[in-house]
């Protein structure tokens, strides 16, 4: 009993990494990653292209062998128990990687059979996946003839056919339309409520906002991890005695030029149809209004905001870049 309890304690984290490293010769692609992800989370793994996201996922799925360090997934060791790890995870790679000339049903059948599902069990799971992914009724269509969004749904279906507690998704929404993107995310959130842990990489900030926790990897190093709110409150992002203002005005470019010349402004960037301006704490909004007014700029709104995730990651990246060059 006691041993079982202890085992469960260890298993509490769905994914736990310890100094996970991947090297190709001299080049370090993933550098000593150590973190834990709890069950039922949607973990968003972010970072610029080439930062080591895909390599990390491939190591966690047993496609690549770690050069150093280890980790556990569902309590199974990444190095010693890789086969057990593979049985307990689902993986959806960056490119569409199902058999194009097979039908939807045949693809699902194939993956069910690979994970050792047979007979009734297999039929039940396939029916369930068809229903959950909304693919029911399209089972006889060839995978190649599906549109991008449906292809991704099928790929997700194949990844969850054996009810894995952990699912890895490598840029699942790259290159599909916004509607399909949103509905795929709705599906992920639904599944997460049933206790499935998702490990997702993405470049979309709106997707990052929907994750329950986030990690940011830059240049093969993990530089931030935590819930979205925690990241927004990072001291590196919220520089001391500074505040972030969102300025709405009709002529954006002159406004940017204006702000960049002011000595109390640390940074001004275009952000859609608004400006994000970092100013010193003791400069009040009224004073800025006044300044803008005297510069003949037509401003409709100024309000203090929390940094968005994009702010967070841009700031973190810039800070890392600066650190690397000095």
């Amino acid at each position: 009993m006691e041993r079982k309890a202890r085992k469960e304690l260890v298993v509490a984290a769905a994914i736990a990494l310890e100094r996970l490293t991947k090297r190709y010769g001299q080049q370090v692609v993933v550098n000593r990653l150590s973190f834990e992800i709890e069950k039922g989370e949607i973990f968003g793994f972010l970072g610029p292209n080439g930062s080591g996201k895909t390599t990390t996922i491939k190591m966690l799925c047993g496609i690549l062998e770690p050069s150093e360090g280890t980790g556990t997934i569902n309590g199974f060791d990444l190095v010693r128990d890789i086969r057990k790890v593979k049985r307990s995870i689902g993986y959806m790679s960056q490119q569409f990687s199902l058999n194009r000339c097979l039908t939807v049903a045949q693809n699902l059948n194939f993956y069910a059979s690979i994970f050792g599902l047979t007979g009734d069990q297999s039929r039940r799971r396939i029916a369930n996946v068809l229903e959950v992914t909304g693919l029911a009724g399209q089972d006889n269509k060839r995978a190649a003839s599906l549109s991008g969004g449906w292809k991704q749904r099928l790929a997700l279906g194949c990844a969850i056919i054996h009810e894995p507690p952990v699912v890895f998704l490598d840029e699942p929404t790259a290159g599909i339309d916004p509607v399909a993107r949103r509905s795929l995310w709705d599906l992920l959130v639904d599944l997460a409520t049933t206790g499935v842990t998702f490990f997702v990489t993405t470049h979309y900030m709106d997707e990052a906002e929907r994750c329950s926790s986030l990690g940011y990897i830059y240049n093969s190093n993990l530089i931030a991890i935590g819930k979205a709110d925690v990241l927004r409150a990072l001291p590196a992002v919220n520089r001391p005695h500074r505040k972030l203002l969102e300025v709405t005005c009709s002529h954006l470019l002159p406004a940017v030029r204006f702000f960049r010349c002011q000595d109390y402004v640390e940074d001004a960037t275009l952000f859609g149809h608004t400006l994000h301006v970092v100013v010193s704490q003791h400069k009040s909004t009224e004073e800025i209004w006044k300044d803008l007014f005297s510069a003949d700029l037509d401003v409709t709104e100024i309000r203090q905001i929390q940094p968005s995730l994009e702010d967070v990651f841009v700031t973190l990246t810039e800070r890392e870049e600066a650190r690397c060059t000095t």
Binding site: K58, I63, R100, G116
Partner: protein, 414 residues
């Protein structure tokens, strides 16, 4: 020994009898061991069945590939009818300066061998040479004007036959045929001048062909061609199989599942294995029924060899596929395997006369073994004891190829 043990124990009285393993327990132990072995095998072949089913579906879906298989298999009819090493009806020009019965007799005897076919009569020596140089004819027969008179006078009547040596096989055959005709005619003429029965040949060489008594090229060639077609079709299909999965990204997807390298490779091979065995048998049936190639040996042994040969051919393809990163490399490597299988395996050229290093190279191709086995069984009726030196290494080659494939497979993913 056992008996003695028991006695000692009872005499000593202090020793407790060892717990004897009953039959039941022993059976249990054995079965546990077997279960463990089976469990291990099952682990090593995880996903094999799933891959096999999927591969079957893909093979059936791929109409184009099936058509290609059929087209290649139909080549057997072309080779069966078209290819022959038999030298027959070689174009000949004649410069007969005499045109008398003696010369006509020799000429007729030459024609009777079936090797020559007179294409034209010319009227000068240079025309004969010209005909050979231009390729209009391969043989020129020149009969001098004094041929008959010399023979009648008891002198030697000389006859010149010019042979184009650029095709050495044809040249050799014609040479020996011409000399044989000359000798025969000489003996005929000599025997006319002595009483019947007085002349006996001092030496009489007679050959007796044990197998393939008619010396049909088809008997020699067609079995080899069957192996050649089978090996190449199988190579073509497996060579691209792993690379295709890799290019499509499906391989990476599979590597994140519990599928093992062995399960994947064997699962991919099984459909082609079955197709290969059926196809080879069909081709052999054609050679047997349509082209009357004999089948002397043990059919069961032959089937066993076919099963192994098909597997090893597939394994060559799999190893190539595991070593390549794209289809272009596969195409280039294919040439590396296909051309030697014509030149080095004994299909057309006897392997006996090859230099040893090249000979060794040919052992890398399963066709080399299969041609020997096949000719042994079908033409000579050889059995397992005679063919073991070929069958054993063929099996070993298969095992080595699969082992290397699995290793290649692991390294290129890592």
């Amino acid at each position: 020994m056992h008996h003695l043990d028991l006695e000692l124990r009872t005499a000593g009285g202090t020793l407790k009898p060892l717990p004897k393993l009953g039959i039941k327990n022993r059976l249990k132990q054995v079965s546990v061991r077997w279960c463990r072995l089976l469990g291990w095998l099952k682990d090593e072949f995880t996903g094999c069945r799933a891959i096999m089913v999927k591969e079957w579906l893909e093979v059936i879906e791929d109409r184009f590939a099936l058509l290609i298989i059929l087209a290649i298999a139909c080549q057997i009819f072309i080779y069966g009818n078209g290819i022959s090493f038999d030298v027959r009806d070689v174009d000949t020009v004649v410069f007969d300066q005499e045109r008398r019965p003696q010369s006509q007799t020799v000429l007729n005897q030459l024609l009777a061998t079936g090797y020559f076919r007179i294409k034209e009569h010319v009227s000068s020596r240079s025309e004969v040479v010209q005909a050979i140089v231009s390729g209009r004819a391969r043989v020129g027969i020149i009969i001098p004007p004094n041929f008959s008179s010399k023979i009648q006078r008891g002198q030697c009547g000389q006859l010149q036959i010019l042979i184009d040596g650029s095709d050495s096989t044809v040249a050799t055959s014609l040479q020996s045929a011409s000399i044989a005709v000359g000798l025969n005619r000489s003996i005929q003429i000599l025997s006319q001048s002595v009483p019947a029965g007085a002349l006996k040949r001092p030496v009489d060489v007679r050959t007796h062909t044990l197998f393939n008594p008619d010396l049909r090229t088809q008997n020699f060639l067609l079995p080899g061609i069957v192996g050649y077609i089978a090996q190449n079709v199988l190579l073509l299909f497996t060579m691209s199989s792993i690379v295709r999965e890799r290019e499509g990204g499906t391989l990476e997807q599979l590597m994140a599942t519990p599928v093992t390298p062995l399960g994947l490779l064997i699962g991919k091979m099984i459909p082609y294995w079955v197709i290969g065995i059926i196809g080879t048998n069909l081709l052999l049936l054609v050679t047997h029924t349509v082209f009357r190639v004999p089948m002397i040996g043990n059919l069961l042994l032959f089937e066993f060899c076919i099963i192994i040969f098909v597997f090893v051919s597939l394994a060559v393809g799999i190893l190539i596929s595991c070593s390549c990163t794209n289809q272009m490399q596969v195409a280039q490597l294919a040439a590396f395997a296909l051309i030697p299988s014509v030149m080095l395996t004994g299909l057309l050229v006897p392997r006996d006369s090859m230099p040893i290093p090249i000979n060794w190279l040919s052992y890398l191709l399963p066709l080399t073994y299969f041609i020997q086995i096949q000719r042994g069984i079908t033409l000579r009726g050889a059995g397992l004891p005679e063919l073991w030196p070929w069958i054993g290494p063929l099996i070993a080659l298969g095992v080595i190829l699969i082992y290397l494939s699995v290793r290649r497979f692991k390294t290129y993913l890592g």
